[in-house]
Symmetry: C2
Subunit: 353 residues, 2 copies
Amino acid sequence: MSKFWNERVKKLEPYVPGEQPKDQKYIKLNTNENPYPPSPKVIEAIKAAANFKLKLYPDPNCDSLRRVVADYYNISEDEVFVGNGSDEVLAFSFMTFFDSKKTVFFADITYSFYKVYTNLLGLKCELIPLKDDFSIDVDGFLKENGGIIIPNPNAPTAKYIELNDIKRIIEYNFNSVVIVDEAYIDFGGESAVGLIKEYPNLLIVQTLSKSRSLAGLRVGFAMGDSKLIEGLLRVKNSINSYTLDRIALAGAEAAFKDKEYFQKTREKIIITRDRVTNELRKNGFKVIESKANFIFISHPKILAEHIFKELKKKGILVRYFNAERINNYLRVSIGNDEEMDKFVEKIKECVIE
Amino acid sequence: MSKFWNERVKKLEPYVPGEQPKDQKYIKLNTNENPYPPSPKVIEAIKAAANFKLKLYPDPNCDSLRRVVADYYNISEDEVFVGNGSDEVLAFSFMTFFDSKKTVFFADITYSFYKVYTNLLGLKCELIPLKDDFSIDVDGFLKENGGIIIPNPNAPTAKYIELNDIKRIIEYNFNSVVIVDEAYIDFGGESAVGLIKEYPNLLIVQTLSKSRSLAGLRVGFAMGDSKLIEGLLRVKNSINSYTLDRIALAGAEAAFKDKEYFQKTREKIIITRDRVTNELRKNGFKVIESKANFIFISHPKILAEHIFKELKKKGILVRYFNAERINNYLRVSIGNDEEMDKFVEKIKECVIE
């Protein structure tokens, strides 16, 4: 604490990301990274962009990348906003569309950064409890509010929300912005991006960190009606004109263009996920049906916290949240087959012992 | 305008960066970029970092880069904060140390982003007029306030403030944070970083965009008492845990380590600047004494706006600010010798015609 911090900063409870060990001794299944490297074309594009032009500012409007994303989703360039990871895009969205006079709604069990943003910005929020099976309570979102954020699939539960349910929420709340955080949508879900032309209050947020293996490059984006995007640009341009560097812009474009590599790697992850889900279930684990690149698991007899610690001793990092309703669950990112075989082997030891 | 923007966003007046033409037809002297490419060691480091590890998140604490900066300035790691360009670092500083109950002071003629931050955050500000010769009015800063920001050298005037004057301001205002924005300090000024151990209210902000030729990589940093740095980290971690990507971290480290290249290029710029200053003066221009990588110039007979437009027609971009007190000046970034010879040749034509 310091007398120089303002009152809000004194009260902040910043987000704590999953551990990033500096040595290589762990199998890292704790931060939902992709086990496969980025497309070789991304590496190539980055090397090509490492040239004298780094002395010049990047394009503050990121037109070229926005065009590539727009083409990919068959929308227009002014319906795309790009930023330094989806966390930044989400923070800017909270700053643009929500205000302290009205209440923002999100689930009680969800990505914990949402609460952090509301603290930073002095926003009121109401937590809408998930149902007992961790599915979203759609009816809970059908009442007066000042904005909604829903991740689909939800994190850390991995549970997918059907587009019809998303649609009910957007339609009812036509006066407030509904953000659908689709960080994990590419692992089996269907994006709501097809709805943005119909609903001017819908903002979709995605990232290149997960399905495009680029957590280390920091690129996220939002898609929605051009008026929503214009608002985000106003806020971005009031904080930092150039949030994406020349290298990130080049790498992100190449990632979007290599559709084949993207398809191949995400399919591999889906197959591995479903195989591991089955194996864990056979071994007595409860595994929530996942459409993400991670699974949310629990054991009827052995406490999650115990398994978490044992796995760490055995060289495997997973994520444990010491929070109400989910403190007997573990979130496990899907690694490659070799890593997951090791994981299954080790977790079986934890529940036998 | 959109009904979905909150009240503050509706009133924003975002920063407008200097034009970034997409073709190569201009000699670009409008955004204070460095005419020399980054160190070859930076390019090498970036290429080496373009590997499979991009699938993993970067170090959220940026420990390695912070250590390199700390070593360079002979301070400790926890006295360094790094971010996505100094604009982001400044925005985070405004969010951390200033609040809406007190008034922030800065000069009437200064980096125009400061006003943008205060609008975004709903802060009150008082503009302390520069003296007639554009030097800072130190006494104006010696009264009750809620924070101060001073660029040294000032922009767009290029005028340097002596450390003794900075010291008077820091000492008087021991209860509020004084930010010294040293974006241009490496071109002949003396950094105030040596004072941070003595003054816990002093925050220095610098960038790699100018003196290290890395505008395209987006890295800036702050230095100050560890409590100030801790506050910045709290805010950063409430917005985006990973503001610097793996590539930017690697490139920035390499830039700091290649001291020889840094010395050589900044000296070249200083020599070119002083030569051009003399030539312009010989041709009737008023040139404010500069310690930056740009000059602020005016002609007694020909209007700046006219010269600006003529230069553009002749293929040279400089910066013109249509703002009170400085609307008869041009800000001209220092290019390489060839570019500046061309500039001098062309601007001479503008004032003869």
